[in-house]
């Protein structure tokens, strides 16, 4: 119990609490490249990286461009018996168009195009002022909160695996050609995963709270 009393007496800013298991620690910021891990449940609490902000911004811009390009250019082309059909990612998402299926079309388009796009834009909005040592943008906190809430609903990488499965299913029915958007989408998935690795949530919250003392 003496430990417990010690925690509540000191400044609360000097503490960090594991969101998964409620374990409380005195805050000691790890060096760049190191990670602070909860000893009780092994959740990574802080994982700062040198120049992470700049890298995340660069990747976000690339992803925004790639998402827009990949959704309008032809994605896959199928041909059999002299007939052919080329589709973009947007076509694939909007394929459900009858009755309640329309809801499904909107959800699919959201999961693979709009949610990833929105997350990148929100990330840029939050991080650009922080990285340039400016005061945080207006509503930056709400923007970052929204971006974090959207995270599980951003499903570009799942769609990529879906493509692989679909290709095997079609293989004995027709010949499939890959359009430019297919390769763009491949790069995009890798970038989204890389960005997740760079992003340290705690560091972002901390710099939004103390914009000057970074």
């Amino acid at each position: 119990m003496s430990d417990a009393a010690e925690f509540s007496r000191g400044p609360l800013e000097g503490l960090i609490i594991c969101p998964v298991c409620d374990a409380t620690y005195q805050l000691q910021r790890p060096k760049n490249g190191e990670r602070a891990v909860c000893t009780r449940c092994h959740k990574v609490l802080i994982a700062p990286r040198a120049k992470a902000g700049m890298q995340i911004i660069a990747v976000s811009i690339a992803v925004v461009v790639l998402i827009i390009a990949a959704s309008v250019f032809p994605f896959l082309k199928i041909s059999a018996g002299g007939r052919s059909n080329a589709v973009s990612i947007l076509d694939a998402a909007l394929t459900f168009t009858e009755g309640p299926m329309l809801v499904l079309a909107l959800l699919t388009a959201g999961f693979i195009i709009f949610v990833p796009l929105l997350r990148m834009l929100l990330t840029l909005y939050v991080l650009v002022p922080v990285v340039l040592d400016r005061p945080p943008a207006e509503h930056a906190i709400a923007a970052f909160r929204f971006s974090e809430a959207l995270k599980p609903w951003s499903m570009a990488e799942i769609f990529a695996l879906g493509c692989a499965v679909a290709l095997v299913k079609v293989a004995d029915l027709a010949t499939v050609d890959f359009g430019p958007a297919f390769w763009m989408f491949g790069v995009l998935v890798v970038l989204v995963i890389v960005q997740d690795g760079y992003m340290c949530k705690w560091s972002v919250w901390n710099s939004l709270e103390h914009p000057k003392r970074r």
Binding site: M155, A166, V170
Partner: protein, 216 residues
């Protein structure tokens, strides 16, 4: 925390008279209602969350039944129309020799969803009673549910790609069946159900067991 002054015995925020912000990990006095850093609502243990978990779980399960009964894909070839359910489609793939893909579909559409229903129910029940399984075991389960659950969506994307792509007038065409709609809803509701669960309750149950058996 390995790099952050390691206490010999973990002290929970609740025992220290604090409440954690689960979104940004900031500490606040127990009676604080809103996080001053990120604006999240603060609650030490979200006990009422279990009702939300069960309600969403039930809707998800109710959607999963028609998802398996109705056809997922309607394939129209020259002279034949073929409607296949999720499991039927996987069996067909296996008969064609595509065992790898058949396995992916079965895992994503049957094993993961059913495992997820079972895991959420197990976790929600287990936090009510003290003791039982080691919490490491339960935590692993929670993580699996959290991170793998969304991959069930793959089947919907396969249907979307196939339906958009295979539109060869008169030769072959594929259209989505009603199961796609129910399956997507089922995945969404189970994701929401898992997100409503407060994992801190898993650890409380374990800590109580330790104290009761005198290992604490």
């Amino acid at each position: 925390m390995e790099l952050v002054g390691t206490p010999k015995k973990t002290v929970t925020a609740r025992a220290a008279g604090l409440v954690a912000c689960t979104r940004c990990a900031r500490a606040w006095p127990l009676e604080t209602e809103v996080c001053g850093r990120c604006g999240a609502k603060l609650i030490s243990r979200d006990v009422n969350s279990l009702q939300r978990v069960w309600a969403l779980w039930l809707v998800g399960l109710m959607c999963y039944v028609p998802a398996n009964l109705y056809p997922m894909l309607r394939t129209q070839q020259l002279f034949s129309v073929d409607e296949s359910t999720i499991i039927g489609g996987a069996v067909e793939l296996a008969q064609h020799g595509a065992f790898g893909i058949a396995t992916i579909i079965l895992v994503a559409s049957v094993v993961i969803p059913l495992g997820k229903f079972w895991a959420i129910a197990f976790l929600a029940l287990s936090v009510r009673e003290k003791g039982g399984y080691a919490s490491r075991h339960r935590l692993l389960m929670y993580e699996v549910v959290e991170y793998i659950g969304r991959w069930s969506m793959i089947d919907i994307f396969v249907v979307a790609i196939l339906s958009a792509l295979v539109q060869l007038q008169g030769l072959a065409s594929i259209t989505p069946g009603p199961a796609a709609f129910f399956f997507a809803l089922s995945v969404i509701f189970t994701m929401l159900s898992a997100q409503s669960f407060d994992p801190r309750m898993i650890w409380d149950a374990q800590a109580d067991t330790d104290e009761a058996s005198g290992n604490g």
